[in-house]
């Protein structure tokens, strides 16, 4: 599904130059569930942003769905991203001014779906995530677990091939954390590729494979289980 070759990312600010990623070589197969672990500041989010086509690498190659995307323009990346990648963030990143329904609807809006189709699909996903009864609530009125389910609903609404989750359980208590992991596992079992950053080994163990990142490069990998056939 995706493969990086000697991926590099430099951040240059006025004072310092930070090497956030250094020669990262990573390959992820379709249907895989990969967890990324590592200390704070080792480049996990940077890697996820590049894999998610939110940012361009400073060097190296990145093949995504057979496209060489490291030189893509912002617009090209955005088009590829819209229909193929869903995001789940630690802090949920729901828009406070929009209702649950409207938050989940957003990606479909940007993909140009008709109103009736949007409604139908959002309702279905909200049922699936068991938050349909909250559809007219605003994010602030929900618990953290509920908010993250809304975020997951939003991430999968456009049926992406790949879901990137950056510490999705970071702001949740363990019960809600479990719940989100179950959701992700379920999605993975239905064929969605998942790459997830996490600090907790107990959550990383839901994945097929754990990649350890340190100081911008991959130091080791654990294979936990083989991928179930899709």
């Amino acid at each position: 599904m995706l493969r990086t070759i000697n991926l590099k990312k430099l951040y240059t600010t006025e004072e310092v130059e930070t090497t956030a990623l250094n020669n990262v070589n990573l390959e992820v197969q379709e249907g895989e569930f990969v967890a990324i672990m590592g200390p704070s500041g080792c480049g996990k989010s940077t890697l996820l942003n590049i894999l998610g086509l939110l940012d361009n690498p400073s060097g190296g190659e990145y093949n995504f769905l057979d496209y060489e995307v490291s030189k893509h323009t912002e617009r090209q990346r955005a088009n590829l991203r819209k229909s193929n990648i869903g995001f789940v963030f630690q802090s949920f990143n729901l828009i406070d001014e929009l209702t649950v329904f409207e938050n989940v609807e957003l990606p479909l809006l940007y993909l140009g779906y008709s109103g009736s189709e949007r409604k139908q699909r959002v309702e279905k996903v909200l049922e699936q995530m068991e938050i349909a009864h909250r559809r007219n609530h605003f994010p602030q009125q929900l618990s953290g677990g509920q908010q993250q389910r809304v975020a997951v609903a939003r991430a999968i609404i456009a049926k992406p091939k790949l879901i990137l989750a950056d510490e999705p359980t970071g702001n949740l208590d363990s019960a809600h954390g479990e719940e989100v992991m179950k959701l992700l596992t379920e999605l993975n079992e239905n064929g969605t590729t998942i790459i997830m950053v996490t600090h907790a080994q107990m959550y990383a163990e839901y994945a097929h494979r754990i990649v350890h990142l340190f100081d911008g490069h991959i130091v080791s990998e654990n294979i936990l289980k083989t991928q179930t056939a899709v």
Binding site: G52, L54, A78, K82, F87, F89, N93, P107, Y110, L111
Partner: protein
């Protein structure tokens, strides 16, 4: 004697110096004008004629023939007087200069009468007695003239009097009101910016406030501090403002033709007033931010829970303020457009005659008046002169009026009708249409003595079945008139005034100017040649000329200045309002950084984001339009009532204004919204 000719302005004939405070430099105020043919002149006039010599006892000739002895030299009236003079001649002199009818007939209202009331006299009470007074003094025969006397305070004349034949062109109080309102609005816009920016910036001061409160400052102390700051800022603004006035005054005076100076502010009243404005503005602009800032609770502020909830409550106020600011700007834009439309309308309206390329040569002395036909002939011989004519008045000059009476009416039923004395060539030169009957013509011997032309308004006024051939008594037996033709309603005055009835007739005594229709090429050379021809005939009077179209343009100069000033004020108001909008846009996009980031991650394009951010402001500008446009319509419609001939305020003006406002608003916020939309979402979501 009369070495150099300089225009004699024998405009004001006063007997006494008791009513007007006139300062004598030479001569004795008590008897300066008691003798006939004595004249008092201003210092400037004395300088012009006699240089540094003392002019007392010297003589000036009025119109070739009448010597006036100079009995006094006085200071000119200051610029703000409602009239000005170069000469004041004694009232006694007029008895020899004017025919008796000027003094005997009650309808001859050629004097401006000033009365000095004793301090305990009420003007309205005195006015009430005028009717009885007239009854007592007016002979029976004069009663039907329908004269009424009114009093008006001298200080009201310049701004509030709109009578015909004023001593000098007056202004209108409505301009003072309009500019006062505009000034208040601009000040309000600036105050609102202050309020907006101070509260928006409050986050950065919240820490200071928290600390102050923790160490014991109470709310009233903080409120006083913030209002104090606002007043100090306003005071500094006042000083800068005075500096700006000093720098801009020469330009402004030049532009408006006034002689204002900063010294108008250095009296006690003005200074107290200015300080009062500083206090009011400082307090007005400071009170809301003061209440807002001092309401922070120190624990929340210092624990970093900050004011985002608080801020949301105040977002509505900010938007309301920007809406109001835009409303003012929109009203000003619409007004500017309407004023310019009216100006263009007045400049381009068909006047009923062709005003282009008409050179007017003034018959400024009796010598020239006597040989006007010779002058006409000689001018016409010039290759560039196509037509010549003579007339008593040339548009847009104020006409005289005569009392005229249809022969079927009783001898005391006359009407006051405007009159133009013209020669046979006038109608053709001016290209005025004859719509009934015929033009004045040399082919009819009677024309010289009795033919008159009516305009359509006169025809309507008299309502005769057959107007051609109708006979009138002119000027009470001075002359008989027979209507030979009707001309279209041409605009013999500016478009301020409605076209009133007028009659035209042959009356050479009154011709005061020669009109020349000239070729469009080489106009400058033509004027020089005409001057030479003049000098060949008239050796001792200067050649005075002007162009008819320029005269017409000049009538609208005050409107033009008004339009320009409103334009400048609109630009200023828009600029300040845009600063406010810019501030609000940067504040609001900053608030929405995260949202924008999320939307981009989810696939929103740059244009979608820009649209999203613009949509909100568009809504407020729309509201501003809805507030401003009816107000502009109302005020401008009132202004247009000053003009007998005016434009209809069309819907297109408002559409255009709304479009301009939207474009200005969008451009103003585009910097912020495009910047926000282009920002890398990774950045905005990074600090989770």
């Amino acid at each position: 004697m009369l070495a150099n000719y300089i225009k004699i302005a024998l405009r004001t004939i006063l007997r006494q110096f008791e009513i007007f405070t006139i300062q004598f430099v030479h001569g004795d105020p008590s008897n300066a004008l008691s003798e006939p043919f004595s004249v008092v002149i201003t210092e400037e006039t004395a300088q012009r004629y006699f240089g540094d010599e003392n002019p007392i006892g010297k003589t000036l000739l009025y119109d070739y023939q009448h010597p006036f002895t100079i009995t006094g030299v006085v200071r000119s009236f200051p610029p703000q007087s409602h009239f000005h003079f170069d000469f004041i001649a004694s009232m006694e002199s007029t008895k020899s200069l004017f025919p008796p009818v000027m003094f005997e007939h009650w309808g001859n209202i050629w004097l401006y009468t000033y009365v000095l009331l004793s301090p305990d006299t009420e003007a309205p009470a005195l006015e009430q007695q005028f009717a009885g007074f007239m009854e007592q003094h007016m002979p029976e025969a004069a009663r039907m003239i329908n004269l009424q006397f009114h009093l008006q305070p001298v200080t009201d004349i310049h701004l509030r009097s709109h009578l015909d034949i004023e001593l000098e062109a007056n202004s209108n109080i409505i301009y003072i009101y309009i500019f006062t309102i505009i000034a208040i609005f601009i000040l309000a816009i600036a105050c609102f910016n202050f309020i907006n920016l101070t509260t928006a910036r409050s986050a950065s001061r919240s820490k200071e406030i928290g600390i102050r409160k923790t160490i014991g400052a109470n709310r009233p102390q903080l409120i006083r501090q913030f209002i104090g700051e606002a007043i100090v800022i306003t005071f500094i603004a006042l000083l800068l403002g005075i500096l700006l006035i000093e720098l801009m005054l020469p330009w402004f005076n030049n532009f408006t033709g006034k002689t204002l100076s900063l010294s108008s502010f250095t009296n006690g009243v003005a200074l107290t007033g200015l300080l009062g404005v500083v206090l009011i503005v400082g307090f007005g602009a400071g009170i809301y931010p003061a209440l807002f800032l001092s309401s922070y609770r120190p624990v929340e502020v210092l624990s970093g829970k900050s004011s985002s909830g608080n801020a949301r409550n105040h977002a509505l106020l900010r938007k309301g303020i920007v809406t109001f600011q835009f409303a003012i700007s929109i009203a000003l834009i619409a007004s500017t457009i309407i004023i310019y439309n009216q100006l263009t309308f007045m400049r381009t309206k068909d006047l009923g005659f062709d005003k282009d390329r008409i050179l007017i040569v003034k018959l400024n002395n009796s010598g020239a008046r006597q040989q006007f036909e010779v002058l006409k002939e000689s001018f016409l011989n010039h290759i560039s002169v196509l037509k010549t004519a003579a007339a008593s008045h040339v548009p847009p000059e104020q006409l005289s009026s005569w009392r005229i009476r249809h022969e079927s009416e009783p001898s005391d039923r006359f009407e006051l009708i405007n009159v133009m004395s013209v020669d046979y060539d006038f109608i053709e030169l001016m290209d005025i249409d004859i719509i009934e009957g015929r033009n004045l013509s040399r082919q009819f011997a009677v024309d010289e003595h009795e033919a008159i032309l009516f305009n359509e308004a006169a025809v309507k006024h008299f309502g005769l079945d057959r107007v051609i051939g109708a006979r009138f008594d002119l000027f009470q037996g001075l002359k008989e008139g027979t209507v030979v033709g009707v001309v279209n309603n041409f605009h013999y005055e500016s478009l301020h005034s409605e076209i009133m009835p007028v009659f035209l007739h042959i009356w050479p005594q009154w011709y005061s100017q020669i009109l020349l229709k000239i070729r469009p090429e080489n106009i400058q050379q033509t004027v020089l040649d005409i001057q030479e021809i003049w000098q060949a005939h008239i050796t001792d009077w200067p050649f005075e000329y002007r162009f008819l179209d320029e005269d017409f343009d000049r009538v609208y100069r005050s409107e033009e200045r008004f339009g320009q000033l409103v334009l400048y004020f609109s630009i200023l108001a828009i600029f300040i309002a845009c600063l406010g909008l810019f501030g609000l846009a940067s504040y609001s996009t900053q608030q929405r950084t995260k949202e924008i980031g999320v939307r981009k991650v989810l696939g929103a394009s740059v244009s979608t984001i820009v649209m999203l951010l613009s949509k909100e402001f568009t809504k407020w500008v729309l509201v501003a339009n809805l507030i401003a446009l009816p107000v502009a319509y109302y005020v401008m419609n009132r202004w247009l009532q000053n003009y007998a001939y005016r434009i209809e305020i069309g819907f297109d003006v408002f559409l255009f204004t709304a479009a301009v406002a939207f474009i200005i608003a969008l451009v103003t916020i585009s910097y912020q919204s495009i910047k926000a939309a282009l920002a890398n979402p990774v950045e905005s979501l990074r600090y989770e």
